[in-house]
Amino acid sequence: MNIYAYIVAGVLVVLGGVGIARSRDLVHAIVCLSVSQSGTYVLLLAIGFQQGAAAPVFGSTSKPTKNVVDPVVQAMTLTDIVVSATVTALLLALAIQIAKTHGTVDPDELTALEG
């Protein structure tokens, strides 16, 4: 049984989470969230992988065959990446606003709720 790729995915997710928890900078926390999400890409692609199989794209020379890696998880990974990119942009915009209104991006110093 070979679960090495799954372990890599799990480690990435957990490391990202640890990074967020010990973060002293909101931008650092946002990058850590991206690291955590990359773990989910690795997990999805690892689930769809098949030893020696081709990519799920056919052409005039490669006739359709079922001997390809799983296209469904690849499509999900694409969705995952798009969502990750947009959420990162949104969080960075929030970080800019927080830096403007509070003068700091250290989560530990952001204690009070402020309008």
Partner: protein, 247 residues
């Protein structure tokens, strides 16, 4: 919560998640095995609809409702970034952004690669159903190509090349076109997002039914969305706060 207590909570949480993940991984199908039930259903379905790129078929035909959701997330994020990053009352646009001139080699790089990247981006969008690629990937390439002008130190030219009102409209139009294609499915077959066009000949440009149209709609929305978001971030860089402000 004190810092040391936070470490304890974090340690317990990480250990717990680690154990749960490990147990789950041990019960999963072998890595690289031949057991892929979804693949066995998705590949014949894609071939039936004449789509050579099975991933595109999954995204824009078999599970298009998911992609509509994804598209909506993108649209919502662009709206939110635009709303969050609008200039405040006490901020002004600086007059001369990007007055620093980059290295000549960098400028040459920008000038040469910008048209090339735009062509590659269009190619990736249009051929998304026959080769690896599609609207999302091609849209990002298109937005990147445009911003190579900024790398080349021509921020003003880039601004002229992307008139913001037009880009904002095309972002909305791309998203609306996706939904309209969905309603076309209701009109023709009675099912939302059904592939209503004939599948065409496998592996050719005109194949896969409505998938190329979905790709173009998404490409338009993603390219414009990226441009809008980056424009808002650029504005922030070039904003100056007026004097006499307390905070």
């Amino acid at each position: 919560m004190s810092r040391s207590l936070r470490w304890v909570v974090l340690g317990v949480g990480v250990a717990g998640i680690g154990v749960v993940l490990l147990l789950a991984f041990l019960g999963m199908p072998d890595f690289g095995s031949t057991h892929h039930p979804y693949r066995d259903l998705a590949v014949p379905a894609a071939v039936r609809h004449g789509t050579a790129n099975v991933v595109s078929s999954v995204n824009f035909d078999q599970r298009a409702i998911d992609t509509l959701g994804e598209e909506t997330i993108l649209f919502g994020s662009v709206l939110a970034v635009a709303a969050l990053l609008r200039p405040a009352d006490d901020e002004e646009q600086q007059q001369d952004p990007g007055s620093r001139v980059p290295l000549q080699a960098t400028r040459l790089f920008g000038y040469v690669l910008m048209p090339l990247t735009l062509v590659v981006g269009i190619d990736i969008v249009v051929h998304g159903h026959v080769t690896p690629g599609g609207g999302f990937q091609g849209g990002v390439v298109l937005a990147t190509g445009l911003h190579l002008l900024y790398v080349a130190g021509r921020y003003r030219s880039m601004e002229r090349l992307r008139p913001m009102p037009l880009v904002e409209v095309s972002e909305a139009a791309g998203t609306a076109a996706f939904a309209a294609l969905g309603f076309a499915g209701i009109g023709v077959t009675g099912s939302f997002l059904a592939n209503v066009l004939p599948p065409g000949s496998f592996g050719q440009l005109f194949s896969a039914g409505a998938v190329p149209l979905f790709n173009v709609a998404v490409g338009l929305a993603v390219a414009s969305g990226c441009v809008v978001m980056l424009a808002k971030f650029f504005e922030q860089v070039f904003l100056v706060r007026n004097e006499g402000d307390g905070r």
